[in-house]
């Protein structure tokens, strides 16, 4: 099996649009790579369509995102968005329960779905010539879902088992639920996506259908097709199957806002299931969409400098130099419709007290506030982050997931494509300003996961 060049190299068309962008960038004197270079259009009924070419293999991933998630549930019905996601596999007027899944499998396809606080997504990956089949049935279940108690009741039990697997058997996840409920005093992000157990038990067929009718509509959805396909091929199919679905009234996503927070909080979970302690400090943080101080990009640079891998500040100080931690890091994701969190975390080496490690981690936070980050650190970090954008193009699904999350959390395709430029524009002064705005004890939750002391 020798070949001078793989055939699919020749299949890559050079699109005029892309070329123009590159030339523009050159003329601007600062050539800047875009990220996914998607094509977009919107159907008359308001369905936004995004096509991301990835020509490596003759396959496509077809995804539909809805702009609705757990944070859009009514109080008392937590878990409903996720429950509905499960029930979307139970059939329509045209197809029986599970029949869509059978059709996908019979076509050699794979599928799944996911729910977050801000969005719900469904996807199938199939050979490129099967795209029309999955489109037809995904469009069908956008409006024609049929449910009965007979189908819904066992699925509620499945979700309760899912909750036991993910939360009930996992002390770390139980603590994470407590952190969320403590971090957000009022905003619905305080509820777990999967729902509180007693409320899952009360979720009903009628409630699920009402939620479905309220939120699932073409004008509240985004269709993303990634893979060996072009917008010119997708458009007629999208019009045929999704275009015929009428636009519908969809409520505004007006979520209650956080009041001012006045006190640092702390939560502790002790369990016999925990042998290795750990702790975290979460700060209320801006997202792309709720970013009055324009800190979201600078905070990503801060995240990388403080916690990005084996040369980050926390790794060097706590793990290498002081030998206090077995692990340490940070987490920040700006793709959120409302405020989010920036998390510092660490777990001690055996024989080291959590208190000592916490003091050392807080000292590192204090140090970045007092001394700031250096230009050299920022330059190196920006280079790393921009390389991530190149790696992100490699996988078939990454682009679809990134754009789906962006478009359901108040961002645009242009925002995604401008990410490397905006990261590149971040200065050390901006990182330092963002760090100062972030670190407020009154807006923090410190959480401890500890072994249960034996008495």
């Amino acid at each position: 099996m020798r070949a001078a060049a793989p055939m699919h190299r020749l299949a890559l068309p050079i699109r005029a649009g892309v070329l123009t962008l590159v030339l523009l960038a050159l003329f601007a004197g600062r050539p800047q790579a875009k990220v996914f270079e998607p094509e977009t259009f919107t159907l008359d009924n308001g369905l936004q369509v995004v096509v991301i070419a990835n020509r490596r293999a003759p396959i496509v991933t077809h995804m539909v995102y809805y702009r609705v998630g757990a944070a859009d549930e009514t109080p008392g019905e937590s878990g409903l968005a996720h429950f509905l996601e499960h029930l979307m596999f139970k059939g329509t007027e045209a197809l029986g329960p599970g029949e869509f899944s059978e059709i996908i499998a019979a076509n050699g396809g794979t599928e799944n779905a996911f729910t977050s606080s801000d969005y719900t997504g469904y996807y199938q990956t199939v050979a490129r010539d099967r795209l029309e089949i999955v489109m037809k049935h995904e469009a069908d279940r956008m409006v024609n879902l049929r449910l009965s108690d007979e189908l819904v009741d066992p699925e509620r039990e499945v979700v309760l088992e899912e909750r036991r697997s993910r939360i009930g058997n996992e002390p770390g996840s139980q603590l994470w639920e407590m952190i969320g409920a403590t971090m957000f005093l009022n905003h619905p992000y305080r509820r777990p996506v999967i729902g509180w157990e007693h409320e899952i038990r009360r979720l009903s067929t009628e409630g699920a259908l009402a939620f479905y009718r309220r939120w699932y509509a073409p004008n509240n959805a985004i269709l993303i097709v990634a893979g060996d396909v072009s917008a010119a091929e997708v458009k007629p199919l999208a019009e045929r199957y999704y275009g015929v679905i009428p636009r519908d009234e969809v409520p505004e996503r007006n979520r209650v806002e956080e009041p001012p927070q006045h006190a640092a909080r702390s939560v502790t979970l002790e369990s016999e299931q925990v042998r290795q302690p750990s702790f975290s400090i979460s700060y209320l943080a801006p997202s792309y969409n709720k970013d009055a101080g324009r800190h979201a990009y600078a905070l990503q640079v801060l995240d990388d400098i403080m916690g990005g891998g084996a040369t980050s500040r926390l790794y060097r100080a706590l793990i290498v130099e002081q030998g206090l931690a077995a692990s340490a890091g940070t987490h920040y994701d700006a793709s959120s419709l409302d405020l989010t969190t920036f998390v510092f975390r660490a777990s001690p080496r055996i024989g080291i007290e959590v208190d000592a490690l916490e003091a050392a981690l807080r000292a590192e936070i204090a140090r970045v506030l007092s001394e700031g980050v250096s230009e050299a650190e920022v330059t190196a970090s920006k280079r790393r982050l921009k390389a991530l954008a190149v790696y992100a193009r490699d996988s078939l699904s990454t682009g679809a997931r990134v754009i789906g999350a962006a478009l359901t959390t108040g961002q645009s395709v242009e925002d995604v494509e401008a990410w490397p430029e905006r990261i590149d524009a971040v200065t050390a002064a901006q990182v330092n300003e963002a760090a100062k705005a972030l670190v407020r004890d009154t807006h923090s939750v410190t959480a401890y996961l500890l072994p249960k002391p034996t008495t």
Binding site: M1, R2, A3, A5, P6, M7, R9, N54, R56, A57, P58, I59, F89, G98, S101, E102, A105, A106, N107, G108, G109, T110, E111, V126, A127, P154, E155, R156, V158, V159, L160, E161, E162, R164, S165, G168, E272, Q273, R275, Q276, G308, A310, T311, R316, V320, G323, A326, S327, S347, P348, R349, R383, R384, A387, V390, Y391, R393, D394, L396, S397
Partner: protein, 446 residues
């Protein structure tokens, strides 16, 4: 994911095939005789390399369990003239991803780089494999991280179930030991042990290399020599005894105060080179394979809502083959779940799949193979798996024929031999109702 789990996934993936258009695999042989399989893909400026040496944690000497794993954590922690932080700084500054992983049967590595840093990336790989330093600070640091990881996993129900099943399957055999080692064995490992491992285990004769991405065969060949030629020509001789899972019919309960019982069960499976492997693979997809369509999924999840996840998979290793199943159900209902799994196990043995089930399983398994080409790293993993299993460079074009060739008669015959409900070894972790243990949990987990 551990390399072991990764390779298992790869093995399963290999059971499907590619359309001719998709992948052109080139055999690249360097002037010095190093072989690599290459798929060129110049769509993105990225190169992915996966490698493996045959022989993994199963070869860790008695009392030195965790040796291969500790080495895997330390090869990128200082090599040649670069100390740990200098080495890591180069990786980080150039966005080169380099990691190593110890499986039971293999010692693996993975390199991802942007094309512009290709030569540096391969040079860092050369240093990591050939001149690791094992300085005191990184050795103690990585040891501490592994010890913390062992402690973190100590009370995890899924992990307890998995390692208890392994202890029951392989008493006195290296496959029964944890890859990570025990706190005692990890603490006892010395820098000399690590150096001896590198000198003895990383030989060119057991090396397999797979490369995918923005590099040509002509560019790759000299890089292979530069990277690998300085390694010893041959690894020291070593042997792991062939064995079979033991413990048939036993039921063990590990009492833990959790709301949901986690079940791991299984018995002997088929080796990867068994002529009936494909038939077993197709039949097991029907019983408990992936996706939303299997008998176990239908009976346990869809009809009764007893579990979120229920599955069965073939797990062939180099020296033993397993068929493993699992479910997690509320303590009060786990007896019912287990009963259903046993019933389906027996029913598959008795009557095998229907013609219709066999046909749709084949459609799915043959049709879904190209979906695995979703990233350069995944393709590299596939190519490596094909080499490790010695399936041939044209395997990807032949593989669907193996699946298509499975007849209903084969499927039923193999099902009858494969599924032995009375031989199931069952581990339940939790506070299960309606489960009777037949013996105590083996030492080390109660």
């Amino acid at each position: 994911m551990t390399l072991r789990a990764y390779l298992t996934a790869v093995i399963l993936i290999l059971l499907a095939s590619l359309p001719a258009r998709a992948v052109e695999v080139q055999r690249v042989i360097s002037p010095g005789g190093i072989e690599a399989w290459l798929v060129e893909d110049h769509g993105n400026p990225i190169i992915s390399l996966d490698l493996a040496f045959r022989g993994g944690a199963a070869l860790d000497p008695e009392g030195k369990e965790g040796l291969a794993n500790l080495v895997s954590g330390l090869l990128d922690e200082g090599a040649g003239a670069l100390d740990s932080q200098a080495f890591q700084a180069l990786l980080s500054d150039l966005s080169i991803q380099l990691s190593f992983d110890a499986g039971r049967d293999t010692f693996g590595g993975s390199l991802r780089t942007l094309t512009e840093n290709r030569d540096t990336a391969f040079d860092l790989l050369r240093l990591a494999l050939g001149q690791p330093r094992f300085d005191a600070e990184p050795v103690e640091r990585i040891r501490a991280q592994i010890l913390a990881g062992v402690r973190r996993n100590a009370e995890d129900p899924d992990r307890i179930a998995g390692r208890t099943l392994r202890r029951l399957f392989f008493p006195g055999h290296p496959y029964g030991r944890p890859v990570d080692g025990t706190p005692e064995s990890i603490a006892a490992l010395t820098a000399d042990d690590l150096r001896r491992f590198v000198a003895r285990r990383l030989g060119r004769d057991t090396l397999k290399v797979a490369v995918v991405g923005d590099v040509t065969a002509a560019q790759l060949a000299p890089l292979l020599d530069k990277t690998f030629l300085a390694l010893p020509a041959a690894a020291a001789p070593a042997r792991v005894a062939d064995t079979e899972p033991q413990g048939g019919g036993e039921v063990v309960v590990v009492r833990k105060d959790i709301p949901q019982s986690v079940v791991a069960l299984g018995h002997a499976g088929l080796m990867r080179d068994d002529p009936d492997f494909y038939a077993a693979y197709v039949v097991n997809y029907i019983l408990g394979g992936g996706g939303f369509a299997s008998r176990l999924y239908e009976e346990v999840r869809e009809k009764r809502g007893l579990a979120y996840s229920v599955h069965a998979y073939l797990y062939p290793q180099d020296h033993a083959a397993m068929l493993i199943g699992g479910v997690a159900t509320a303590n009060g209902r786990v007896g019912q779940s287990l009963e259903l799994i046993r019933r389906e196990w027996a029913r598959m043995a008795e009557s095998g799949p229907t013609a219709e089930e066999l046909a749709s399983a084949k459609t799915f398994l043959t049709g879904s193979y190209p979906l695995r080409q979703s990233s350069s790293g995944r393709i590299a993993g596939m190519l490596l798996g094909i080499q490790l299993e010695d399936l041939g460079i044209d395997y990807i074009n032949r593989r669907n024929d193996y699946i298509e060739a499975v007849t209903l008669k084969d499927a039923r015959r193999v099902a009858r031999q494969l599924y032995r409900e009375d031989q199931l070894t069952v581990v339940v972790v939790g506070q299960p109702d309606g489960i009777k243990a037949t013996r105590e949990a083996p030492d080390g987990d109660s």
